[in-house]
Point group: C2
Chain length 205, copies 2
């Protein structure tokens, strides 16, 4: 056989090609031929590593979530290990906003997948809500920690606040994508709400 190839490596490369071309042209109107051309291989090879388009799309979603997770933790680490829960939450939320090209692609495609999952049965399976649930759990945990340290506004329910903050970030991201709002304004809205949730850590304190 021709030189043995690492299948997993190949699959992530193809999945990333799918993500790139879908980020430009939209997840609809992306065919296997487009993915093949973007990856610099033949259509046959895309078929070889992912037998069907549905499996390719599913793997693309997993790749998208995995890459985002890496960026989020990297950003959180860059924000400082002991920077406190407020900074950690802010870093996580701001990372989810479509500011640069990479996060824009992530937000666009994740929304596209969400829309697909609402009607296609095969995509509505487990792996989809896993990522948002993980994010919500992470933020909830950080807020609980903040509550224990007395940083949170009284009467705050960590889980509810986490759900609200993540939903707000997602909505603001869609607004940016649609050209309705600037990333700067969206970040301002987000920080404003964090200021109210974390009294004393705001712009004046």
């Amino acid at each position: 056989m021709p030189k043995r190839v690492d299948h997993e490596e190949r699959r992530t490369a193809i999945a990333r090609a799918l993500i790139r071309v879908a980020g430009r042209r939209g997840l609809h109107r992306v065919g296997m031929r487009d993915v093949a051309a973007e990856a610099g291989i033949s259509l046959r090879l895309v078929q070889y590593y992912f037998e069907t388009k549905e499996k390719l799309l599913l793997h693309g979603l997993r790749q998208l979530a995995a890459d985002f997770g890496e960026r989020a933790t990297a950003r959180r680490r860059a924000a400082g290990e002991g920077a406190g829960p407020r900074a950690a939450v802010e870093a996580l939320l701001l990372e989810s906003l479509p500011t640069d090209e990479e996060s824009r692609t992530f937000h666009l495609l994740f929304t596209s997948y969400a829309v697909l999952a609402a009607t296609d049965e095969a995509l509505a399976a487990q792996p989809f809500t896993d990522a948002p649930d993980a994010a919500e759990n992470a933020v909830t945990h950080l807020l609980e920690q903040a509550l224990g340290e007395g940083l949170l506004t009284p009467g705050a329910d960590p889980r509810r606040e986490a759900a609200g903050l993540l939903a707000m970030a997602a909505g603001l991201g869609s607004g940016i994508l649609a050209g309705q709002r600037s990333p700067h304004d969206a970040a301002g809205v987000l920080r404003h709400h964090l200021d109210r949730l974390f009294p004393g850590t705001g712009p004046e304190g």
Copy 2:
């Protein structure tokens, strides 16, 4: 000629058929033949009233926004004319949540259009951000009114709060659509934030 027909009436009927079938099967994978079958007419007639599919999709978006506007004002009127800004804002936000089949379809399709507009040039035109801007202006106006009456928490910026609330409602809606959250929980999150924004009008007052 066969009995003269009101073109505008026909076009809204076809556009509503598009909305129905797209709500079931997803906006992608909706063809003109599906719309024709749903409307009970021939494919030729869909071509006749909308020359091209792109025009049909554009009109579908306008119809969607118009129908939602009607529902929103109806709900606000049902909430009571003089019920105060808090109730008005709450009614508007809750209407945007996908609770029943109609609002679910609205949220799903509006998100689908937003995704399309992010990549397709023809759809990124004016009419898309009009509806969200109108909603934001309405909420902003209500919050300004509340601020004047001293109902709002101190230091609140009406426009920023409006943007945040609408973004949160949109994000919660997506969570409901994806099956991540129940409509009941989403409404709870929303009301919780309104309680903080409107001190004294909450559950204990």
